[in-house]
């Protein structure tokens, strides 16, 4: 059977990719806690995916990645996360040489892809600053959707904190001082950019691929492009890249 499944059990969302003869099909994103409750059968030594509840067949090989992949100990091929992202970028863009920036739910990573393989990587420090979680907190504080927040980049209000917790208090304070919400949203995007640049500075960026849910943020894409003097490539859909990479690795194991 020429079908392969890839599951990315991220810190915030679970994404499922199906590699089938007609191309890729995607399920989710599902809220992580909800996914564990609904689709994972607890079992000793990990858990087992309830394939039928997701409409998946029993036979195809399945590979899993992400923070929660140990929850699928039963029968899944386990893939290190960054390897899955590199494979996914390769499968979705056809690129073999690039710097990949993945901004996920609780951390940000930069991978150097050379000759289709990961040659080096850098990850952010311990806290979840400037990750998807930071954006979520900020959008809740501003009462703005993530999509709307991604539209603002002009005339940003300077935010000193990129901490997911302190940043929120600072934002609330600035709202109280009367700053416009659009400018504050632009400030949030600027703050994320400032935190990502030191990670990127270790690499000679000629081609930049942006992956993870934060890649939907148009303002951040624009700011990164402006700062680096290039147009970042965004695989479609950016948050399913690791799941697609898992399909490739499941296929490789299967063949």
């Amino acid at each position: 059977m020429n079908v392969f499944y890839g599951v990315d059990l991220g810190s915030r969302y679970v994404k499922v990719a199906i590699d089938e003869p007609g191309g890729y099909r995607f399920l989710g994103p599902y809220d992580t806690a909800e996914f564990y409750r609904t689709y994972v059968e607890p079992a000793p030594g990990g858990g087992v995916l309830r394939r039928e509840s997701l409409g998946l067949e029993e036979e195809p090989a399945l590979a899993a990645t992400g923070y929660g992949r140990a929850r699928l100990g039963g029968g899944a091929v386990m893939v290190p996360e960054l390897e899955a992202i590199v494979e996914g970028v390769k499968a979705l863009t056809g690129l073999a040489e690039a710097v990949i920036l993945d901004v996920g739910g609780q951390d940000s990573k930069v991978m150097l892809m050379r000759d289709g393989r990961m040659a080096d990587f850098a990850a952010n420090d311990r806290c979840a600053a400037s990750s998807g979680k930071f954006m979520e907190n900020m959008s809740a504080a501003l009462g703005m959707s993530l999509q709307e927040m991604g539209e603002h980049y002009r005339d940003p209000v300077e935010l000193s904190s990129t901490c997911a917790i302190f940043g929120e208090s600072e934002l609330v304070g600035l709202m109280g001082e009367g700053y416009e919400l659009d400018r504050l949203a632009a400030g949030v995007n600027q703050a994320i950019l400032r935190r990502l640049l030191p990670l990127l500075s270790r690499f000679d960026v000629r081609t930049l691929v942006l992956t993870g849910g934060v890649a939907y943020n148009a303002a951040l894409r624009g700011l990164l492009g402006e700062r680096l003097g290039l147009e970042p490539a965004v695989p479609e859909p950016p948050d399913f890249v690791a799941a697609v990479g898992c399909c490739s690795l499941a296929r490789r194991k299967g063949e």
């Binding site: 290190p80 996360e81 393989r117 990961m118 040659a119 990587f121 311990r126």
Partner: protein, 360 residues
Amino acid sequence: MGGVSKVFFRSWFGNVLRRYYRYVMSRIGITTTVPIEVIYAAGHVPVDLNNVFVSHPDHQELVEEAELAGFPRSFCAWIKGIYGTVKRTCDLAAVVAVTQGDCSNTQALMETLQSEGVEVIPFAYPYERDYELLSMQMDIFMRRLGVEREAADEAMRRLDRVRRKAHRIDKLTWDEGMVSGFENHLYLVSCSDMEGDPDSFEAKLDSFLAEVKTRAQEGAFRPAVDMVRLGYLGVPPIAPGLYDYLESLGARVIYNETQRQFSLPFGTRDMVEKYRLYSYPYSIFYRLEDIKREAKRRCLAGLVHYVQSFCFRQVEDIILRKSLEIPILTVELDHNVRLDARTRMRLENFVSMLRGRADG
């Protein structure tokens, strides 16, 4: 008794006991490697407070004790843990404070302890590794403990016999692949105080060396062949589980930079020179010479640089990365003894990347 009054009672009682023990017993706390020859020659027992803290079953409580006393949450967990350890260890006669060659946080810790009635003995490593200055420091240290140079030299000869056995364990780790990264860490890190008893520590090393031979013959140990060869840089980890996790990924730490330094792996019989060759308290550039030499000798595929949250050594990461051509993964931990998912993700990807390089 309420929480606060319990703390007060313990502190008061601790001080009374400490005054008593100062004249009767003589356990002396150390916060980093200092010339323990002098402490042993004086008839005292050195106690590495880091080791007591990290192996304490309630080490989280020790950190909390420091926070209750006012240490900030955003402060080095080792310092807080040592503070809690000193407060709980009532039989310490004094604590040696390294005022140069360690961090300014240690200095603040010592001042706090001093203000709470703990006797503090200062010791300074000169930044430029000047022989005369270090010799002078040793003289002051010996005078303070009432020790003659000859007695310290004799103690050194005794300790060096034990250290040579630790060096044998280190060689068995990298040259023959017969010792795990954690075992290497444990025996080398313990050289800082020889567990307060060189004789029983030596017996422990002897028995481990015998076990290494037996288990190799019985095939009961996975040799390092085919494993990714790693080096570990920085202060010893607050979460020693890191070693076993790396082994589960098929990688082995065969070079523990600082722990190896604690075993003073130098041939010299001159005590001052020995502590001048010891790299940890001196500049990062001197440490780099050792790291480069050992990375080459031990054919390391990658380095894990451990940095403690809120530690100035995080900045040294910049120089390490600039100066070394070998792949480096920086791992930062605060005071979680279990490895968190984010750290595991980084280690796993690092090992997988190094293996990919070796295959490719």
